[in-house]
């Protein structure tokens, strides 16, 4: 049985619109018969993966996610600057090898990128159809191949094409997985599952404009639209659940125990501190988690979202949300037996516990 690390996070975002749908409205979900605001897991994962926390804690162990690898390889081949430098964005890096002709560069770049994903149609197309995730090891291998091709001037052979690697140390790929449609054998199964964050209280987002016409016609103000301010500009208190299969994470990281610990720390810290970026700059809706509960154990994981099935509407929203979470956890334990072996929490509402303790707990001794 695998060991799981489960996180339950309560985070309140100030006026913001963190995650919008195609038409620019905040994403919503219906839960317990009431409409809630929602932040998709994709948006959360992206925010975490690109956070400073990930960058500093997991330096050297982060993959690159791009459609444009072919273009980047082409630039490397034809400029003599290594791929690593180009990825770093060093525009004025010196050439380290003899550049190849544009024609050869285009041909080889298209061959190399094609290994990682189906290329867009067109002769010598360079862009991959889907976002592909490259591990640091694979980028190093591409770099080595670029050097070799430039030196020999010969087309890549069968051996040269073996650029995909099952074993890698890209913590973000190990956590969130990758799908290579062209070579599924090199897929990585995600070790981290992230729920959509959903508000613990009801939020009306639409339709009211149509309904409110009656009020406007009568000249009524404040009738039946009392929630208005809350809808668009007040904060939402979100519940977020993250489940990590620790064993799978370690396996994805080639059994590297230290790196697994670092990855877990980065993940928990990011989940506690990093908000999605939507409208961040005009609303500065940056928020730290107000409550964080971490659990460890080999039991089958479960979310505690049922705590909010009945939407909360108290004045002390945060206080009652924390209580509801603890309460639900205890009751589940009472009915099912302990759902985890150990747990650790921090409560910024009451000023109890510390993030550092939670991080040590999560990364520390395990079954």
């Amino acid at each position: 049985m695998s060991e799981f690390v489960q996180l339950h996070v309560l985070v309140s975002y100030p006026p913001s619109n963190l995650n919008r749908d195609d038409l620019g409205r905040p994403k919503t979900a219906v839960m317990g018969g009431a409409q809630r605001l929602r932040v998709s897991s994709q948006s959360l994962k992206r925010a975490w993966r690109t956070s400073d926390i990930f960058a500093s804690t997991l330096a050297g162990h982060l993959g690159v996610r791009t459609k444009e690898m072919g273009t980047l390889v082409y630039r490397s081949l034809t400029s003599g600057v290594s791929l690593a430098e180009i990825l770093r964005g060093a525009n004025d890096a010196p050439a380290t090898f003899q550049p190849v002709t544009e024609e050869k560069g285009r041909k080889w770049a298209s061959e190399i990128a094609g290994i990682f994903g189906k290329l867009k149609s067109g002769e010598n197309a360079l862009e991959i159809e889907q976002l592909a995730h490259f591990s640091p090891e694979e980028i190093a291998a591409i770099d080595a191949l670029i050097l070799k091709l430039a030196a020999s001037g010969k087309d890549p052979d069968e051996d040269d094409r073996k650029l995909l690697m099952k074993r890698h140390t890209a913590a973000d790929i190990a956590m969130f997985g990758r799908m290579l449609a062209a070579s599924p054998i090199y897929n990585t199964e995600a070790a981290v599952q992230v729920s959509h964050a959903v508000t613990v209280h009801p939020v009306a987002v639409e339709d009211d404009y149509f309904t409110a016409v009656d009020d406007l016609n009568r000249g009524d103000e404040g009738m039946g639209a009392g929630h208005l301010g809350e809808t668009e500009f007040a904060s939402g208190l979100f519940y977020l659940y993250v489940c990590v299969n620790r064993d799978l994470l370690r396996e994805n990281l080639g059994g590297d125990e230290a790196l697994t610990g670092a990855a877990l720390r980065a993940l928990v810290e990011a989940a506690a501190k990093v908000a999605p970026t939507g409208k961040q700059n005009s609303f500065a809706s940056r928020a730290y988690a107000s409550y964080l509960l971490a659990e460890k154990g080999c039991q089958q994981p479960r979310s505690l979202s049922v705590a909010y099935l009945k939407p909360l509407q108290d004045a002390d929203l945060l206080g009652s949300a924390i209580n509801a979470l603890k309460d639900t956890r205890n009751k589940m334990d009472a009915v099912y037996g302990n759902c985890s072996d150990s747990w650790c929490d921090m409560n910024a509402h009451a000023g109890e516990g510390a993030l550092q303790e939670v991080l040590d707990f999560v990364a520390g001794h395990h079954a």
Partner: protein, 228 residues
């Protein structure tokens, strides 16, 4: 005036005719026009706004005539729309707009630039390296807010920067059904709270729309009473 809400009938999405209608942006515009026009010579006398609800389009419209449900694919609700407004009243609003400024070049030719592109061009002209530019959402918010504040003056309302969100900047490009002419429209989505400054003018803006591209679903402002 009337305010209508038109929602697609549940079965209609299985209708091939429907998907042919919404196949492109330009066709979607036709789809809405079909609900209103009674002949090829009819001039536009309505505003509309398309929203998507769980993958299905919902159209809101301010119109002088009630829409006609040709083909019966829609559930149409219509209400009389004659808001009683007063100076100083606070209203929450949503607006999708095509925020452009028109400039005359030396030859007297008019050019339309959307305000976000314009802000970026200005940054470029200032010679600031791209890495030092403010993040895109900030550019959008600032340029977008400035445009709306300016429009407010002419249309009888005022807005405060902290009360308005401008985002969802999209450049839309599409072709007319016939011909190679490409239409390009940038849209911005506004949400926020405004204060009515001149009820008469503001009402006219609610009826006639704000900014260009009204035929393509821009400029219809929806309001409701705000309580703070």
């Amino acid at each position: 005036m009337f305010l209508s809400r038109m929602r697609l009938r549940p079965g209609a999405a299985g209708n091939r005719e429907f998907w042919q209608m919404v196949g492109s942006e330009y066709q979607a515009h036709h789809m809405v026009w079909d609900l209103f026009t009674d002949g090829p010579d009819r001039e536009r006398d309505f505003l509309y706004r398309v929203e998507e609800n769980e993958g299905m389009p919902t159209i809101y419209s301010v119109c002088e005539r009630e829409p006609v449900n040709r083909g019966g694919m829609w559930t149409i609700e219509t209400k009389l729309y004659d808001p009683a407004l007063r100076t100083g009243q606070q209203l929450a609003f949503v607006l999708r707009a095509n925020p452009v400024r028109t400039k005359c070049d030396e030859k007297g030719k008019h050019h339309r630039h959307d305000v976000v592109m314009e802000a970026k061009t200005r940054l470029k002209q200032q010679g600031r390296p791209r890495e030092e530019w403010p993040p895109e959402p900030e550019i959008v918010q600032q340029a977008g807010f400035a445009w709306l504040a300016m429009k407010g003056e002419a249309n009888g309302f005022s807005v405060a920067e902290g009360d308005v969100r401008a985002d969802g900047y999209i450049q839309r490009r599409f072709r007319k059904r016939k011909g190679r002419h490409e239409i390009s429209i940038s849209t911005l989505d506004y949400t926020g709270i405004l204060t009515v400054a001149d009820p008469e003018r503001f009402k006219a803006a609610l009826y006639n729309g704000i900014g260009p591209a009204k035929g393509f679903g821009c400029g219809m402002m929806m309001v409701r009473p705000a309580v703070r």
